[in-house]
C-alpha cells in the first residue's frame, strides 16, 4: 500500500515530464480540464499513469478525475490491498 504523499510525489514527476509543466506549478488542486491539455493528451497522460502504477482506469474514472488530488485518491484506492 502506498501513502498519498508518495503517490503525489511520483504523480507530479510524471505529469511534469509529460506536460512540461514545472513541478512547482503542479498543485493538488490543479484542474486537468482547465490545464490546457486537450482530450487526446489527457488520455495519453492517463495511460502513462496507469502504466507507472500498474492499474487501469475505466472510461468514467478517466473522465471523472478533475484534479491532481482526484487522481491521487483514485490511485490510492486502486493500489490499496
Amino acid at each position: 500500500m502506498t501513502d498519498n504523499k508518495t503517490i503525489l510525489h511520483r504523480l507530479t514527476e510524471i505529469i511534469a515530464e509529460k506536460t512540461k509543466l514545472s513541478v512547482n506549478g503542479i498543485k493538488p488542486d490543479l484542474n486537468l480540464e482547465a490545464s490546457g491539455l486537450d482530450s487526446f493528451a489527457r488520455i495519453e497522460l492517463i495511460l502513462v499513469i496507469e502504466e507507472a502504477f500498474d492499474i487501469e482506469f475505466s472510461d468514467s474514472e478517466s473522465a471523472n478525475v478533475a484534479t491532481i488530488d482526484d487522481i491521487v485518491n483514485l490511485i490510492a484506492d486502486k493500489t490499496a490491498i
Binding site: 512540461k20 486537450d38 487526446f40 488520455i43 495511460l47 472510461d59 468514467s60 473522465a63
Partner: protein
C-alpha cells in the same frame, strides 16, 4: 428480413425462439480484460423494460412520441440499452459525446442545457450511474434524469415485447444525430427508420457480404459511423459485434487488432486517424504475430482519404495478412445516414493524381496518373506535385449522386467538378429544428453536401470542401463557432476573421486563422491569450494578421473560405504578422505562468 422500422428488428431479435438471438454484442471490459457478451435478443428484451421505465418516469402512459431522450454514457452497452429503450416507446434518442471527447464536463452540461429545453417537452436525460456526482449538480432540476448501470452482466429486468403497442411509420424520426462533436454549435440531423434500414441494407448489398460476417469497432456511438455504420448495421444484419470505447482504443490500439485476430472479425471501419494510429503505435513484431487474413472489408471514410495512410497501414500489416483488396474507401455523411458510395469489393481500390490547379467548380479536372493500392509506385508517389484522391466508388442502392454547379444545375459531363448533391432514401429527413415541426426538411429531399467532387469512369472522387467545417482526427469543428471564439479572444468582429484548413487532404496541414486587424500583437499578449484560450478553439495552429479586405468575399460580402485555402496554397495571402500556435508554445506559456504562481 422484412422489417419496416428499427422496432421491428428489435422485436425479431426478442422472440424467445429466434435463432438470430444467438448473435451478440461483445463489450470490452478493461478491468476483466475480456469481452462481456449479451445477445441481441436479451439486449432487445432489456431495452423494452428500460422503455417501460421511461414511460413511468415521464408519466406518458401511451408512449413518448416526440420526447427527446439525451443519452450520456461512456459504456457502449448502457448507451445502446437507452437508445433501443427510447425507440421501443416512440421517444427520440440522441447520443451525446462525453466529457473526454468534448474536453470538459462544462461542455457537456452546456449541450444538455441547450437540447434539454429546445423542444415543447423538456428532454429526459439518461446518465450512466458512475458519472461524477459533481457533474449532477450542474444539471437543471427541470430536466428529469434516469440512471443506468454499465454492466452487461448485471441484473436487468426484461420484457418479451415493448411495453406499449406502437408501430413507427418508415418515415417517422428514429433518432437525432449530432453533426459536430467539438464546437459549441447545436446542429443535428433527423434520421428516419427508413433511412437506417435502407442504408444498412445498401452497405451489405454493395459489398456482397455473407450471413456470417463479424465486426470489430472502437468508434464513438455519438458519431454516425459508429452508430449506424457499425452498431445498427450489425444489429440489423445479425452480425456479432465486438466493441470497445474510443478511449480504450487510444490507450491500446493493439486491442482493436487483437480483437479482429482472436474473434476472426471480417469487417472493421475507421477514419484515417485509426489506421494511422495503428501504423504508428503497433510494433512490427506485434503486427507480424497477428493473423488478419480473414479480414474482408476495412472501410475507411469520413475525411478525405489519405494515400499515405493506406500505404503505411498496408506496409505495417501485410505480414499479418492484410491485402490491398480489403481496403474499401467510402463516402458518406450524417445527412445521408452514413454511407453514400462505396468501392467495388471485386476490384482493388485506386486513386488518381490530379493537377491541383485544375480543381474548381464547373472546371474539367486534369488527371495526371491513376494508381491502384497494390501498385509498387504507390510508395514513390510525390504528393507535393499533385493532389492524390481516392476513388469513393459508386452510389449504394436507392441513392443518386449528382455533380451540380453553383446554381444547383446538374453538370452532365463526366470529369467536370462541382458540388456533390444527393437524393434518395438514405438522405435524412432534414436538420433538427426547434419549431413545432421538429425538422427543417431538405428542399425537394435533395441534399447539397458542401463537398466538391467529380465523377471519373463512373466513380466518385471527393476533391474539396466548401462547407465550413474543419475536420481533424475525426472531429468536426464548425468554422463559424471557431471564428466566434477567436473574435472574442482577439476583440475583433467575427466578420474580420476566417478559419480554414490549408489542405483538406493532409491531416497534418496548418489550420489557419486569418485576421483583418490593423495593429500587431506583441509576444506577451499572445502568450496570455494562449493560456486563456478555451479548449474548443485549439485546432488553430497558425494566425496571420493582414490588412482590411484581404479575406476573399462574395459580392454579397460572405467570406469565401475555399478561396482562402487556394490563396494560401499559392502563398498569395499578404499578411503583416505571423503567429505560431503550437502545443509546445501553449505549454511554454503555461509553464511561465505556473512558475510565477
Amino acid at each position: 428480413m422484412s422489417s419496416s422500422n428499427l422496432l421491428d428488428v428489435m422485436k425479431r431479435h426478442a422472440q424467445p425462439t429466434s435463432t438470430k438471438s444467438q448473435s451478440e454484442l461483445h463489450c470490452w471490459d478493461g478491468s476483466e480484460k475480456k469481452h462481456l457478451p449479451v445477445s441481441y435478443g436479451e439486449l432487445s428484451q432489456r431495452a423494452f423494460a428500460f422503455g417501460a421505465d421511461i414511460l413511468k418516469i415521464t408519466g406518458a402512459a401511451n408512449g413518448s412520441t416526440g420526447r427527446i431522450v439525451m443519452i450520456t454514457c461512456h459504456s457502449p452497452y448502457a448507451t445502446l440499452l437507452a437508445f433501443y429503450g427510447a425507440i421501443s416507446v416512440g421517444a427520440i434518442p440522441m447520443i451525446f459525446p462525453m466529457p473526454l471527447s468534448l474536453g470538459s464536463h462544462e461542455a457537456l452540461t452546456e449541450r444538455i442545457r441547450h437540447w434539454g429545453f429546445a423542444f415543447k417537452l423538456p428532454a429526459l436525460l439518461v446518465l450512466e450511474e458512475n458519472l461524477s456526482e459533481k457533474f449532477h449538480d450542474y444539471i437543471p432540476a427541470e430536466i428529469q434524469q434516469m440512471r443506468i448501470s454499465d454492466d452487461p452482466q448485471g441484473h436487468w429486468d426484461v420484457l418479451l415485447k415493448p411495453s406499449i403497442e406502437h408501430d413507427p411509420l418508415p418515415d417517422d424520426v428514429a433518432f437525432f444525430q449530432t453533426t459536430s462533436s467539438s464546437t459549441g454549435d447545436h446542429k443535428a440531423v433527423a434520421i428516419s427508420h427508413r433511412n437506417i434500414l435502407v442504408n444498412v441494407t445498401g452497405i451489405r448489398k454493395a459489398q456482397n457480404m455473407s450471413a456470417d460476417e463479424r465486426m470489430a469497432t472502437w468508434l464513438p456511438l455519438f458519431h454516425d459511423m459508429g452508430l449506424v455504420g457499425t452498431v445498427l448495421f450489425s444489429f440489423y444484419n445479425d452480425y456479432p459485434l465486438f466493441i470497445m470505447t474510443p478511449t480504450q482504443f487510444v490507450k491500446r490500439p493493439m486491442l482493436w487488432l487483437k480483437c479482429m485476430h482472436e474473434h476472426k472479425c471480417t469487417i472493421a471501419t475507421a477514419p484515417n486517424f485509426g489506421f494511422d494510429y495503428c501504423s504508428r503505435l503497433v510494433s512490427d513484431k506485434d503486427a507480424a504475430e497477428m493473423d488478419l487474413s480473414h479480414v474482408k472489408h476495412l472501410f475507411i471514410g469520413a475525411e478525405p482519404i489519405r494515400i499515405s495512410t493506406i500505404d503505411s497501414f498496408l506496409q505495417k500489416f501485410s505480414a499479418s495478412g492484410i491485402r490491398p483488396q480489403v481496403i474499401r474507401p467510402a463516402y458518406g455523411l450524417a445527412e445521408s445516414t452514413i454511407i453514400t458510395s462505396m468501392t467495388d469489393p471485386q476490384q482493388i481500390s485506386h486513386f488518381v493524381c490530379l493537377d491541383a490547379d485544375s480543381i474548381g467548380i464547373n472546371q474539367p479536372v486534369k488527371v495526371l496518373d491513376k494508381l491502384e493500392f497494390d501498385d509498387p509506385r504507390l510508395s514513390k508517389h510525390d504528393a507535393s506535385k499533385s493532389v492524390a484522391v481516392c476513388a469513393a466508388g459508386t452510389a449504394i442502392d436507392d441513392m443518386l449522386i449528382e455533380i451540380v454547379d453553383k446554381n444547383g444545375e446538374t453538370i452532365e459531363q463526366e470529369g467536370v467538378a462541382g458540388e456533390i448533391a444527393l437524393t434518395g432514401t438514405s438522405v435524412a429527413l432534414g436538420y433538427v429544428s426547434e419549431s413545432d415541426e421538429l425538422i427543417d426538411r431538405f428542399p425537394q429531399g435533395r441534399l447539397r453536401t458542401g463537398d466538391i467532387g467529380v465523377i471519373l469512369d463512373r466513380e466518385l472522387y471527393i476533391l474539396e470542401r466548401i462547407k465550413n467545417i474543419v475536420i481533424r482526427n475525426g472531429e468536426n469543428f464548425l468554422v463559424s463557432a471557431l471564428e466566434e471564439q477567436w473574435a472574442n479572444l482577439l476583440a475583433v468582429s467575427h466578420e474580420h476573421i476566417a478559419v480554414f484548413e490549408s489542405n483538406i487532404h493532409d491531416p497534418t496541414s496548418d489550420i489557419v486563422l486569418l485576421v483583418e486587424r490593423h495593429s500587431p500583437i506583441d509576444d506577451e499578449a499572445i502568450d496570455q491569450l494562449l493560456v486563456a484560450m478555451p479548449k474548443e478553439a485549439f485546432p488553430i495552429n497558425r494566425i496571420l494578421l493582414c490588412k482590411s479586405r484581404e479575406i476573399p468575399r462574395t459580392t454579397s460580402g460572405k467570406k469565401r473560405h475555399f478561396y482562402c485555402r487556394k490563396l494560401y496554397q499559392k502563398n498569395d495571402i499578404k499578411f503583416q504578422q505571423e503567429i505560431e500556435v503550437s502545443p509546445q508554445r501553449i505549454m511554454v506559456a503555461m509553464r511561465a505562468i505556473s512558475d510565477n504562481v
